[in-house]
Amino acid sequence: MKQFLTAVAAAAFALGAQAADPIKIGVAGPFTGGSSSMGVSMRDGVRLAADEINKSGGVLGRQIQLIERDDEAKNERGVQIAQELINKEKVAATVGYINTGVALASQRFYQDAKIPVMNNVATGSAITLQFKDQPENYVFRNAAHDSIQAPMIVEEAVTRRGFKKVAILADSTNYGQLGRADLEAALKLKGITPVAVEKFNIKDVDMTAQLLKAKEAGAEAVLTYGIGPELAQIANGMTKLGWKVPMIGSWTLSMANYIDNAGPGGEGARMPQTFIQEPTTPKRQSFIINYLKTFNPKNSRMDSPVSAAQGYDSIYLLAAAIKQAGSTEGPKIKAALEDLKTPVEGVVTTYNKPFSKTDHEAITANIPVFGEVKGQRVVYAYPEDFKKASEVRVKDVNAKGAMEQKKRQ
């Protein structure tokens, strides 16, 4: 019965299909739930890029078809979706993963199936290292991984703003815990031990206990690794306790649901960003204009500018690789990615040979800048960064500031 229905559906689809087979690209991310502002922005950036490419003739004369699936930020959903995209939809490649845990749980299916994954938002350092020891590694990334972000956060808190006593508040997911480990390692390099290290769960609302412990320990700043809703609760908790210290944390402090839910208490939070919604170059300007026109977000503010920009870039990177490979076979796309011959002009940066056989990270430590929550938006924290923003920062393998990427516990 099932076979029959599939046949009917397939026939119906074939009747309405384009002349040539489309290229299927999977899009996996959280489109609902606490991480959804990142997921939806990523998906919208992806859609924008796919549309643009399709309008100008597609890739290899074929249209890109996006197969989107909502993983709800749940690791087990990610696993099921990976199997579905690989075995049922038979995608050529997948972009996505917002949540580190979901990525880590799901990627091995793509690795086994020899299908490339372009992580466009998830930042856990371990993600691209999962299959490092295997001869071929199918996991790529165009986001700023935590071995870059953690030292940046520490640099900002300890060196630039002179806080010696810091507390770490991280969520209990893979993202939070791996990020916390990265923060502790980065602090250690500066000879500092955090005065308090606290954990909270997704959906937690009352952060009083953790904040009180940090306060009692004399923390001068709170370093965070979490996502929007809980980060907002940290800010609100601080207001409630009447204890306001600076919040410096990972890039997720730019999420719309953090800014909106933290209200005035959220202002001043700082985080590394690969992209800030400012038209600082012609490419960025046209991206912002097109995005706002197509998706019309509230207050003309992208819910997660970084996710949107990186999502957009991830499609262009894949398209370039497929074009160069002249095929949609996984191993060939991978080989092309590792040796991209023509530069790809993206929103975040211009990608000039972004990947090699051993290096699957497109972003290096010199690319991200610091953003700050001000006036309910994310702006450049440092005016000099804003002034120089029109100079596109490109990947520099010798850039200083990153830690050695390690699989930490």
């Binding site: 009083t208 809703p229 306790l241 649901n257 839910n261 209200g263």
Partner: protein, 291 residues
């Protein structure tokens, strides 16, 4: 010491919320031997409807009676669709599953209407804490305690002094006899469900400014309130206030001294222990069933 005072205050405020919801369980149990497994979702809907009204510009204090009205209607709907048919066929499984199903439906509808993100509920009172015995107490927390106790007192007085109260007791003791005496037991049961959801919705708008409002806020609250109802005893009003305080303080202290992840555990474990040892609750009366 200051921290302990802080935790105790937060615990009492939290416990009062549980008590108000537990109160709702008592109301329906008293008349119909049934409970609304979607009680937490009634609270959630109250909070979200309140949020929308406040967003439309309605003043917080004016919004409260409107939300109460909504809660009453919602409770009546639950009774009509979920409980009444089950009572008719005398199926316990029936009303348990149907109140659960209704709760799930309400939650899903709320998710689609208000979105899956948690939203901030503007507080009617200043958000800066006051100093009380050396600890920080939010004015909103005080409002919660006052509101909760007020609501329960109001219903208790209504029960004792009014003919409705007597009708409730009669219906609980012997539904068929009450019917024969001319009491419209169906209406009494519907009314008790309406009142129960009303108090849950009221609790919702009380607690919403203290936490985030969202489609998922009701689930665990409903369960813990049930723990309070059991600990206090499904027949004793005083019991739930005490039960609420015990649970609230246990929670905040566990959250601090042990770990926030475990804060829900004491309430649930307490529930299991009380049910194992004294199912009528710490303050309830054990009823003997006649064969």
């Amino acid at each position: 010491m200051q921290i302990l005072t802080q935790l105790v205050f937060s615990g009492i405020a939290l416990g009062m919320i549980y008590a108000v919801i537990a109160f709702g369980y008592q109301l329906t149990f008293a008349t119909s031997d049934t409970l609304n497994f979607g009680q937490g979702d009634a609270l959630m809907l109250g909070a979200l409807v309140g949020l929308t009204l406040v967003g439309l510009g309605v003043n917080y204090w004016l919004m409260i009676p409107l939300v109460c009205l909504f809660g009453a209607v919602q409770g009546a709907v639950v009774e009509r669709i979920g409980v009444r048919p089950a009572l008719k066929i005398k199926s316990e499984f029936g009303w348990i599953m149907s109140t659960i199903a209704l709760g799930i439906i309400f939650k899903n509808v709320a998710e689609n209407v208000w979105g899956r993100d948690d939203l901030k509920f503007p507080s009617p009172l200043p958000e800066s804490p006051m100093k009380f015995l050396g600890a920080n107490v939010l004015p909103m927390e005080i409002l919660v305690i006052v509101g909760a106790v007020g609501m329960m007192l109001a219903v208790e007085v209504f029960n004792r002094k009014s003919i409705y109260g007597k009708a409730v007791v009669a219906t609980f003791n012997d539904r068929d006899a009450a019917k024969l005496m001319g009491i419209n037991t169906g209406l009494v049961i519907t009314f008790s469900y309406a009142l129960s959801s009303l108090s849950a919705a009221f609790a919702g708008v009380l607690i919403a400014p203290l936490t985030l409002t969202g489609a998922t806020m009701g689930a665990v609250l409903g369960l813990k309130a049930f723990a309070v109802a059991i600990i206090g005893g499904l027949t004793s009003g005083m019991g739930i206030i005490l039960g609420g305080i015990i649970l609230g303080v246990a929670e905040t202290t566990t959250g601090f001294y042990l770990s926030t992840g475990y804060k829900d555990v004491p309430g649930l474990v307490l529930l299991l222990i009380v049910l194992a040892v004294k199912p009528a609750g710490l303050f309830g009366k054990t009823a003997i069933k006649k064969v």
